[in-house]
Symmetry: C2
Subunit: 357 residues, 2 copies
């Protein structure tokens, strides 16, 4: 058997960290099937070059030929540009990658609070449906509207994903003696703002709860709720109380950046965009134009995303192997990129990880 | 001359911290005109008691008789309750209190990062217009929609407020030698998510910028932008880089809780809801049902809100006097409520502040 992976570096440091992940995947040798990497185009630079932020060919190849994919990062124009629309948002929709799963853990040997949580972000609706309009306002000036959509369908399936992850995490740490969640039962925190958005966020929380209520096995997991403003507050005051957080799209976007700050750098936080039939790894960081081309971007978020991808594709041992190598390099502390206080290059950090595989 | 202030404790600890602020205002003696306090009803408890979360009488008295007001905090039902709608959101709208101004500063003598910023939150639109609907979805289940409204009118006036505040702060610290912004020029950070919401958030950022471009005197202030997810990240990584942040309603709600976490407790962070004709002080914290009735709520957010109210009403010396007393009590460290690591009661902290007035 063999694997075919679409590789979409897109913009900025995406073009530096995705090759690093590829090198790691290549180094796994017989731990995984032979991988064929298929380079694919998307992004703001691609839009400027050939007029399409997400060429149809990219979607077609992903859908018809690939077993999974890796995405880098996108730049975006600071003004509205006719015809341009974020390719990552579009890809999530086209491939129905309805869950954005973002595990955030504090780094052994680095200062900062203890964190070990997973953010499960709904990936297809909320304000991200991008239904917007603008009109002349009656009294002069302009008035613009955006529509926020929440469905029971999307909320239930993201809720189910969150409970499954919480169950799996609880299972994995059953015998553990180390780590803040060692031996503890699972917990899911539903993030919403139903004190203001009683209809849409009301539907979100009730849909997630209905999934919980419907299946006996989920009862091994505790359910709690946080208003999104309070969630940001608490994450910074006592991040150790969170295990799995499930949130509508925009809140999920915001709290995952918050969680990343807690563990020292966005450059460490991986994600997968997951659907029932396709998975795409993606570092949580952006395209970072300020450090582009300097070979100092942290490759770890991208490498960890590759590990998540392998886990999803059914290769948990290979995934664990990558994570162990990354942790060892971080713990040793000799090779670190500037975002986490080091002086190493992207290449040096990647080399150090490769040596341990 | 004399002042008439509406006092709306509303729910939970609002009923404990608002009286503390009143005691402080009463203790100012001749530093301000004689104040008459008018107790007014609102809140979830009031809704349960008499069926209205915001009685018309409360609005009428505020509009017709009062020079300003203080609001406590509201509880909200965890499920949608027919006829109930958040009274604080409604008050902001009824009185056209279009700006929520939230200064967040780190506390002398307390651990944590150095912070000295003001969040200027638009208070009348965005998703807070609460236009929501729910339908049966074509494929089964439910689909709900909320409308997010952004106007050039509201965005321009909140932008103007932000630039005015940045100019005033820069003026005040001109000769200063202490503090992270001592002697520095002003800076306004526009918070948005225009990479996804190019129309609504695009209108917000362009409106704020147009205000800046239109007036020469604003050029003494620097303008920057942050995407809201990145803003949360940066606030936690390097909060000292922010001076004044201006944001649409929901982002403003979220980032002000984040900023509060940085300075140790929501119990320290004051705000005013300000319009062109009316101002209402309001601590940023919620009703905290878990500590209600225990006399351990931190009164400082409420007392500082009273100080902001006085400043707005044209009594800057009295406002400064309150702030100095609060800072001295915090610095001494003898009287602190549990939220900031102490064992004092609400009454003890208030007494300590009163002694210094
Ligand atoms: C680039 C942007 C559209 C994207 C998002 O908001 O989803 C990014 O912030 C992310 O979190 O992946
Ligand atoms: C209680 C709630 C409606 C309110 C808001 O979201 O504005 C609160 O969080 C605040 O920040 O004042």
């Amino acid at each position: 058997s063999s694997l075919k992976l679409g590789m979409i570096p897109a913009d900025g440091i995406g073009k530096e960290v995705l090759p690093a992940a590829q090198r790691v995947l290549e180094a796994l040798g017989s731990a995984i099937p032979k991988v064929t990497f298929v380079p694919l185009l998307a992004g703001w630079e691609e839009f400027n070059a050939r007029g399409k932020a997400l060429p149809e060919e990219t979607i077609r190849v992903l859908k018809e030929e690939c077993d999974g994919a890796m995405f880098g990062s996108v730049s975006s124009p600071s003004h509205k540009v006719a015809g341009y629309s974020s390719p990552i948002v579009a890809l999530r929709k086209h491939l129905d990658l309805y869950a954005n799963v973002r595990p955030v853990s504090s780094v052994p040997g680095m200062p900062g609070p203890k964190v070990d949580m997973v953010i499960v972000r709904e990936n297809t609706e909320c304000l991200y449906i991008k239904k917007e309009e603008i009109h002349d306002a009656p009294g002069g000036g302009k008035v613009a509207y955006a529509t926020r959509q929440i469905t029971s369908y999307a909320s239930e399936r993201i809720g189910r994903m969150a409970f499954e992850i919480a169950l799996r995490r609880a299972e994995e740490r059953k015998g553990a003696t180390e780590g803040i969640w060692a031996g503890k039962e699972g917990k899911v925190t539903i993030v919403h703002k139903s004190n203001v958005l009683s209809v849409t966020d009301g539907l979100f929380r009730e849909s997630v709860r209905s999934v919980y209520d419907a299946e006996q096995r989920f009862k091994a997991v505790k359910v709690e709720e946080q208003l999104v403003d309070s969630m940001v507050y608490r994450m910074f005051r006592e991040p150790e109380i969170f295990d799995v957080a499930v949130a509508p799209n925009l809140y999920g976007d915001i709290i995952s950046d918050g969680a990343a700050a807690l563990v020292g750098s966005l450059g460490l936080v991986p994600s997968i965009n997951a659907g029932d039939n396709f998975v795409m790894g993606e570092p949580v960081h952006g395209s970072a134009p300020d450090i582009e081309g300097k070979n100092i971007a942290n490759p770890i978020a991208s490498i960890r995303s590759a590990s998540l991808l392998l886990q999803s594709l059914g290769f948990p041992e290979a995934a664990t192997k990558i994570n162990a190598a990354v942790d060892a390099v971080l713990l040793e502390g000799k090779y670190r990129t500037p975002d986490i206080g080091g002086k190493s290059t992207t290449t040096e950090v990647t080399d150090a990880i490769l040596k341990l595989l």
